[in-house]
């Protein structure tokens, strides 16, 4: 198990290094950073001084090592747009996105898994056929349409939830949370529901397909022949055998949600990383984009590694084979 862990971590580090190289190359070679930072009145001498100051005259390898070294310490330089530290910009936005994404993920699992099990067990009944049909709508509706519909119904017509913003937040050291205030919680509802709707349908369809597969297997029949009650067969024996793909998909989706929550964030004017990224793209704010790339990749890699470790926890066969 320990060897397996070390292998996985080394693997993850290697991937991160490759990503850092990409971010570095974009940062250094898409346009001249000095040109982007200065204005028309800057003299050549000042430009040279800045170039020397930024270390742009050093060999590329040295520059890359410095970039990696800084990145590891959380230093991605200064935003071109407002001269703020990139890291503090991201740190400001990060909690908003994470809270939104985690809540959406929890909703999608809590709703999606039981629905999947239900539709697999009661296939053919009109309730489960109806759910199947709804899930097709859920998969095919783009999230901004869902977001706008939710705003229309719950904010404009019923006026029971705020349409935009994050509400009041409480600051806990470097983390700000909306979960501790009533307005913060109310503001979370619509965006997280909008974000989770697609995930719910994915989880439901995946669990349903896996359950139907597993329920046909011999050990389920044998468990019935042993007198194991039905609910126990469904929720203990069968569900656990379906979990592997669900874990994979959920983890992959957390990554995508963080990276691509920007549509939902834009619709709801949610002050998260997605909004920050959209602004960075608009202003060609390369340090912010590079940092965003690195952080999102880091989240993907971290989740991937966690998934592998979770596999080993779920399935004893993997534990032994790799341990």
């Amino acid at each position: 198990m320990i060897v397996f862990l070390i292998k996985r971590l080394a693997n993850a580090a290697l991937v991160m290094l490759a990503v850092a190289l990409m971010a570095f190359l974009i940062f250094r070679f898409v346009g001249d950073p000095v040109q982007l930072m200065v204005n028309e009145q800057t003299t050549q001498a000042e430009k040279d001084a800045l170039r020397e100051n930024l270390g742009l005259n050093d060999p590329v390898a040295v520059q890359f090592l410095r970039f990696v070294g800084d990145a590891v310490q959380g230093d991605f330089g200064v935003s071109y747009r407002n001269q703020q530290e990139v890291m503090s910009l991201i740190a400001e936005r990060f909690p908003a996105t994470i809270e939104l994404v985690l809540l959406a993920t929890i909703i999608s699992l809590v709703v999606g898994v039981p629905l999947g099990v239900y539709t697999a067990i009661h296939r053919g009944s009109w309730v489960s056929e109806g759910l199947q049909f709804l899930s097709i709508i859920g998969v095919s509706l783009p999230s901004f349409v869902i977001g706008i519909l939710l705003i229309l119904v719950f904010s404009v017509m019923l006026n029971i939830a705020p349409a935009f913003g994050r509400g009041d937040v409480v600051s806990l050291g470097w983390w700000t949370t909306g979960l501790l205030t009533p307005s913060g919680r109310a503001a979370l509802i619509l965006p997280s529901v909008a974000l989770s709707l697609y995930q719910i349908t994915l989880v439901m369809r995946l669990v349903r397909a896996e359950m139907m597969e597993v329920l046909r297997s011999d050990f389920i029949k044998f468990a019935r022949a042993r007198g194991v009650p039905r609910w126990r067969i469904h929720y203990v024996h069968a569900l656990r055998n379906c979990l592997m793909p669900v874990v994979t998909m959920t983890a992959m989706n957390i990554g995508s949600l963080i990276a691509f929550a920007l549509i939902t964030e834009t619709v709801f004017q949610w002050p998260g990383m997605g909004m920050l990224f959209i602004q960075a793209v608009t202003f060609v704010d390369i340090p912010v984009m590079a940092a965003y790339l690195c952080i999102v990749s880091f989240i993907f890699v971290a989740l991937n590694t966690l998934v592998d470790i979770t596999y080993a926890l779920i399935d004893p066969r993997l534990r032994m084979a790799r341990g």
């Binding site: 050990f219 029949k221 044998f222 022949a225 042993r226 007198g227 194991v228 656990r240 004893p316 066969r317």
Partner: protein, 328 residues
């Protein structure tokens, strides 16, 4: 031993309604197993032998269902029980052994956990007591170092060892009846003998009735006390195993016996029964075996024979036992 059979199946009929009409998978099957007795059930694939076992346990795949007849277990009628009541009978009063030990166990739980689950479902035992009982059971089915093995997962056992675990699971609640569906088919020949011997020993010790479903006449001859031969969802012959093997009454049984290779006897070609079993939705009128029967008569084409005393047991054939004897 009492006269009351552990399992008594009377005129059992199983139907599968389908798009193209209803298929009768079991037709008028009657058999019984006494306490401590091993009844072998043989036939070609699709003859309905596994179906009989599943119907008794009420594990038929929907839309298959019992359409007629009765199933009695220890003097209690069980074919009309509700599903929750059946759940209490499965495992507790009827133990099951399936064909493929590699797929019968849940790969994600240790064998100990599966044993403890079964034991606690059927008896009021604490976790510790159930675990002690599980170790005992594993020892009983001949698994070495059971106290260590109990923590192991199914994939850490060999095929034969896994089938022993399956047997331990089947016997966990000391059921009065065990239905073993092809328990040795997926195993090596050398392991097969061990497993059948184990099954036989355990059942004789505990007075458990066994319904042993297999297509392997060799296993039946070695293990069973009586044998029931099935063909196209019907019972064609039933009787003491030695008698049926030595003096089969039904032409189909005779065909089956003829196709068993014997060690030492060199035959250029093994006998086989010409033709194939009819599809269940196209069973001929009269005797189901009539298209393949070497002794077919007019009556066989028109009327379906009932089981009647013949030889040392019963057979469903119009042709007189004496006549078949002569023809053979």
């Amino acid at each position: 031993m009492t006269d009351q059979p552990t399992l008594d199946v009377r005129n059992l009929r199983v139907e599968f309604p389908g798009r193209h009409g209803t298929v009768t998978a079991l037709d008028d099957v009657s058999l019984s197993v006494l306490p401590g007795e091993i009844l072998g059930v043989v036939g070609e694939s699709g003859a309905g032998k596994s179906m009989t076992g599943l119907a008794v346990q009420r594990l038929l795949e929907p839309p298959g269902h019992i359409a007629g007849g009765q199933v009695w277990l220890n003097g209690r009628r069980i074919d009309s029980l509700s599903e929750p009541e059946m759940e209490k009978i499965r495992g507790r009063e009827i133990g099951a052994i399936f064909q493929d030990p590699l797929t019968s166990l849940n790969p994600l739980f240790s064998v100990g956990r599966q044993l403890v689950e079964t034991i606690r479902l059927h008896g009021d035992l604490s976790r510790t007591a159930a675990k002690a009982r599980a170790v005992e059971l594993l020892a009983e089915v001949g698994i070495p170092a059971p106290a260590d093995r109990i923590e192991h997962y199914p994939h850490q056992f060999s095929g034969g060892m896994r089938q022993r675990v399956v047997i331990a699971l089947a016997l966990a609640a000391r059921p009065k009846l065990v239905i073993a569906d092809e328990p040795t088919t997926a195993l090596d020949v050398s392991i097969q003998a061990q497993i059948t011997a184990l099954l036989r020993k355990l059942c004789k010790e505990h007075g458990t009735a066994v319904m042993l479903v297999t297509h392997d006449m060799g296993v039946i001859a070695e293990t069973a006390d009586r044998v029931a031969v099935m063909y196209a969802g019907r019972l064609v012959e039933i009787g003491p195993v030695a008698e049926v093997v030595a003096r089969p009454c039904h032409p189909y049984t005779r065909g089956l016996m003829g196709s068993i290779p014997t060690l030492g006897a060199r035959v250029p070609r093994l006998a086989q029964i010409d033709g194939a079993m009819p599809r269940l939705d196209a069973i001929p009128q009269g005797c189901a075996f009539n298209p393949r029967c070497p002794l077919v008569q007019d009556r066989c084409l028109r009327e379906r024979p009932e089981l009647r005393p013949m030889g040392a047991g019963h057979a469903a054939c119009w042709i007189d036992a004496a006549a078949t004897e002569k023809a053979a």
